[in-house]
Amino acid sequence: MNDHDDILIRCHELTKHYRRGDRTVTPLQALDLLVSRGEYLALMGPSGSGKTTLLNLVAGIDSPSEGKLEVCGQDLTQLSRGRLARWRAHHVGYIFQLYHLVPVLTAFENVELPLLLDDLSRRERRERVESTLALVGLDDRMHHFPRELSGGQEQRVAIARALVGSPELLVADEPTGDLDREAADAVLGLLRSLSREYGKTIVMVTHDPRAAQAADRILHLEKGRLLEQEGA
């Protein structure tokens, strides 16, 4: 029973097909996966093995073709598009390889986005955005536009945006893939402290074995199936 409560992500025979013309691609094939609450998981695997696909399903921005998928106690296949969107705002933060900040919005405004449709006052929103930006060490860059920030700073703004809705789960798709060594280390350090100090559950896709070493567990995906390997 306790064991049941400690599971944040539950995939059972999870399958995803994409139709491309008259060909069907199956990036995920009957995948079983359990991720505990507070766990820091690294996903590795060759290009095209379905890592991003799995992340997208877990983050609720894509829907499985077959199988069961439960995240934060919610069966995602049961939610309508609109409710799924609101679920995402509070249960999962997505960190992209290319940051994907909105270029015409400042760091502050980018981080504020997930809160925009909540019933929070302007002041409550401001406090949360400011404290989240302080958490990623960017309280002095609040009113800068993305073009005025370095790649590493942009990625930290993106992490703040993922965090601001206080989700239990963070998913990151090659978050250091576009950064130099130093900036990558800063981002990895931040993710590690989010896991250790704030108890966030993290699923991170990476090609970098060094980055994966930070995780509690490393999983290898190969042609849509998992090969497990214990982490450091």
């Binding site: 997208n56 983050a59 921005i61 894509d62 598009r81 609109g82 969107a85 609101r86 995402r88 705002a89 509070h90 933060g93 997505y94 992209f96 994907h100 909105v102 270029p103 015409v104 919005l105 405004e109 986005l113 997930p114 925009l116 449709l117 945006r161 993922a162 809705g165």
Partner: protein, 383 residues
């Protein structure tokens, strides 16, 4: 709900304001279209006001039969007393009309010579906004100038001006609810008769006020019957029908501008639609990110819709505002055969223009908004 909508609208506004060049170009286009549209609407509206009969109309115009120009319509002044005796007639005034240009023109100056001591009784609705009525009464070459004509020519009390060989001195500026009065100059009848080669005793037309609008047709018929066998038979019509008839070519011309207005509307629709569609095309990934962080598709669509609406709103505000300001600053008067139709801008036209553009903006961005909200997130993120 309302607060959230407002926040999304603010987001749309930021998108517009922070893509300055693109937004300014689109606004210029929308403003040009709406400038044209408002100008055309003002023409249509002014024409309609001048020629369409209303229930409260009580004015008849008595003209020489088969004549259409003030130069050729000549009636004996003594008809006045005959007309006054016809039952249903409340008031009658003989008018001598002299114009500087009998053909179709944009700058017509019309003098109306009337018995000076009777103008106030015949047209109590005329108000003096500047100068003095008494001065006009006593000054032979005095003129009461309609406010539109005064603005157009830059006239003030005390100024002298000359047109159509008639030189007058402005004694007062008048304002009347009847647009016709605002674009003419009232002078003494005898003065105008002497200035023209027809001489005393000859007038161009009689304006007749009847007791009630039901009396218009019977009184008109009675007047024409009375003079049928005279050397100068008459044709009597309600003032607006008279205008519609004598200014027929002008009306056709202005009627045609309706299509220009429609063209302007379609251009604005296309322009906003194109601008918003390009915006959406360029923001595929950005919109997918908004959805990833918790925006429902409807919220993303709403932001796009707001951008179209804001473009329409501000573009038309600028365009319609400039058109209205321009027509106030530079009033135009269309004239043909001595009849004038003043282009009078109207606050309701401005409001209608802005309202229409708001609707156009919404209409034009419906499809782009739909595109933005329906595209699957993962597909958009891969672009």
């Amino acid at each position: 709900m309302f607060a959230k909508g407002l926040r999304l609208m603010l987001l749309a506004a930021k998108q517009l304001v922070r893509h300055k060049v693109r937004t300014v170009l689109t606004l210029c286009g929308v403003a040009s279209g709406m400038f044209l549209y408002t100008a055309v609407q003002t023409m249509q509206h002014s024409l309609d006001k001048a020629t369409r009969m209303r229930a409260a109309d009580t004015t008849l115009v008595v003209y020489r039969e088969n004549r259409f120009c003030p130069e050729t319509s000549r009636l004996p002044e003594f008809y006045e007393e005959e007309i006054r005796r016809i039952p249903g007639v409340r008031e009658v005034i003989p008018i001598k009309v002299t114009v500087n240009n009998c053909g179709a023109s944009l700058d017509v100056i019309t003098f109306r010579g009337v018995p000076q001591n009777r103008l106030a009784r015949y047209a109590p609705e005329i108000k003096i906004v500047d100068g003095a009525y008494e001065k006009w009464l006593t000054r032979d070459d005095g003129a009461l100038v309609g406010k539109q004509l005064a603005t157009r020519r830059g006239l003030q009390p005390g100024d002298a001006f000359e047109a159509a060989g008639v030189r007058v001195v402005v004694c007062g500026i008048i304002d009347s609810p009847l647009p016709q009065d605002n674009s003419v100059a009232y002078v003494h009848l005898a003065f105008l008769q002497q200035a023209s080669r027809h001489g005393l005793g000859v007038v161009t037309q009689f304006n007749v006020r009847v007791n009630a609008s039901e009396d218009l047709n019977p009184v008109a018929a009675a007047i024409d019957a009375r003079f049928r066998s005279e050397t100068d038979p008459t044709i009597t019509q309600p003032e607006k029908a008279f205008l519609a008839q004598t200014a027929g070519e002008l009306i056709d011309l202005i009627g045609f501008t309706r299509w220009i207005g429609l063209g302007a509307v379609l251009a604005v629709l296309g322009l906003i639609g194109n601008a918003v569609l390009l915006v959406v095309r360029g923001r595929v990934c950005e919109n997918a990110v908004l959805q990833t962080v918790g925006f429902p598709g409807t919220a993303v669509g709403f932001v796009v819709l707001c951008e179209g609406v804001l473009l329409g709103l501000f573009g038309s505000g600028i365009g319609a505002g400039l058109a209205t300001a321009f027509l106030v600053w530079r009033p135009f008067t269309f004239g043909n055969e001595g009849q004038t139709i003043a282009l009078v801008p109207d606050a309701s036209l401005f409001v209608n223009g802005v309202g229409l553009a708001l609707l156009l903006g919404m209409l034009a961005s419906l499809w782009p908004a739909w595109v933005a909200m329906r595209k699957p997130i993962v597909e958009s993120l891969r672009t």
